[in-house]
Amino acid sequence: MFCFAHFFNKIQAQNNINEISNLATDTTKPELKQIEIDLLGSYYDQDGNNSPVTGGRGTENLQDITNNIIISIPYGKNVFSINIGQDNITSASTDNIDTDISSDSRKDSRTHGDIGVTRKITKRKSYLVGAGFSSEYDVTSFNLGSSYDVETKNRNKSFSFKGKVFYDSYVLYRPVELRNESEGDNTRFTYNFATTYTQVLTKKLQLALTAEITYQKGLLATPFHRVYFNDGVNTDALDEIETILSGKTRKRELLPDNRFKTPVSLRFHYYINSTFVFRGFYRYYFDDFGVIGNTFEIELPTRISRAIVFYPFYRYHTQTAADYFAPFGEHELMSKYYTSDFDLSDFDSHYYGLGFKYAPLFGVGRNEHSKKAMVKVKSINLRYANYSRSNNLDANLFSIGLSFTVF
């Protein structure tokens, strides 16, 4: 009995030490003390047979290699952040903007950068201001954003308000046979406002509710997407290039010049025990194009040891088609707006995979450059995912992330 009581007291004492230790390193709203650097890279490979470039019929084969660096630098009450990245895309689909095989349109590269500063006003209030740009072959974009975060006194609730404005300017690359048409508007404004409410429910359970409104004005259609109409011309036996060269009636994709998007989401995180955490997510989405979406996601971080965590995850998404969508050759000639982009079609998708994180307490490696500066590899992340849609699009994605601290 004495031994049992002693054992129980020992566990209780250990729990108290753990709680005090966690309090000391409270991560609810961490104050960054060290420079953090994240290097991220991914390889994305997709295939399908509903390319909008060729009117909703034809190869969607695409590869994308992406690199990103995120740096966070603390300075007094401020944390400065820099995010720079590049996407290198090879697409058999966009190669069909013209009829030359492996022409310039087969490849694209997108460079983007964002800077921001987060300033702590008080212990429980902070704001962020930031700006960014992106540039690719046919789109140049600038953005400005701001956010304000506040926690209640007991830190069991928080509110966040975010706003962002994008200005996009397009060079109107059109399908080769439609380049004699008038160009039209080539700019797009996007206004985004989001608010998030978080609530601690119990010692092991918390949730976040996010409501977002996005309003877009300007060019919402993609200039090099073709739409073939129901004109009685049969092209079933022709491939993509032969169809482009045929006499079948086609136009550039045309969509309304404004769109309201309204997603609402709920996050639900439950600490099961020191091995398992349950992370749940649900989103309801609707917009004035007629798309209604429901997204469910679960992730189960599984801690194998103090340093190793596995992240199995599964996501299910279902959506209705936009009012302006019809597959290849099914649009009526009198339609006001039209698209054969299957991203706006009616489909279900499944996204599943496994993540891995190795993050030992004292880092993977430490290199002392001087008596003052030290670099530490904080964690290594690997992730594999498969994405499949009910309209036969299939994709695989590999990602790697390295996180460093400099102090």
Binding site: T66, K164, N192, P263, N381
Partner: protein, 72 residues
């Protein structure tokens, strides 16, 4: 529409039941676990970025929701 009503009802129930609960700082050991953060990790945000291109529905998850890309 049925889903929306169910969602609002569920959320209202959760908030009304739990709004009185106060968890003290020293009781937040589990909540302070890194995997309990109410946002996605950097690698996950990075990894799921393609979904805003491949799906008509996007946003409310800390990722893109239009602008600065050819996404829907």
């Amino acid at each position: 529409m049925k889903t929306t009503k169910l969602f609002i009802l569920l959320l209202g129930s959760i908030l009304s039941v739990t709004s009185c609960t106060a968890v003290k700082e020293f009781q937040k050991a589990a909540l302070n676990d890194e995997d309990m953060k109410l946002s996605d990790s950097k690698i996950k945000v990075f990894d799921t970025n393609f979904q805003s291109y491949r799906e008509g529905a996007s946003g409310a998850n800390g990722g893109k929701s239009g602008g600065g890309c050819g996404c829907n």
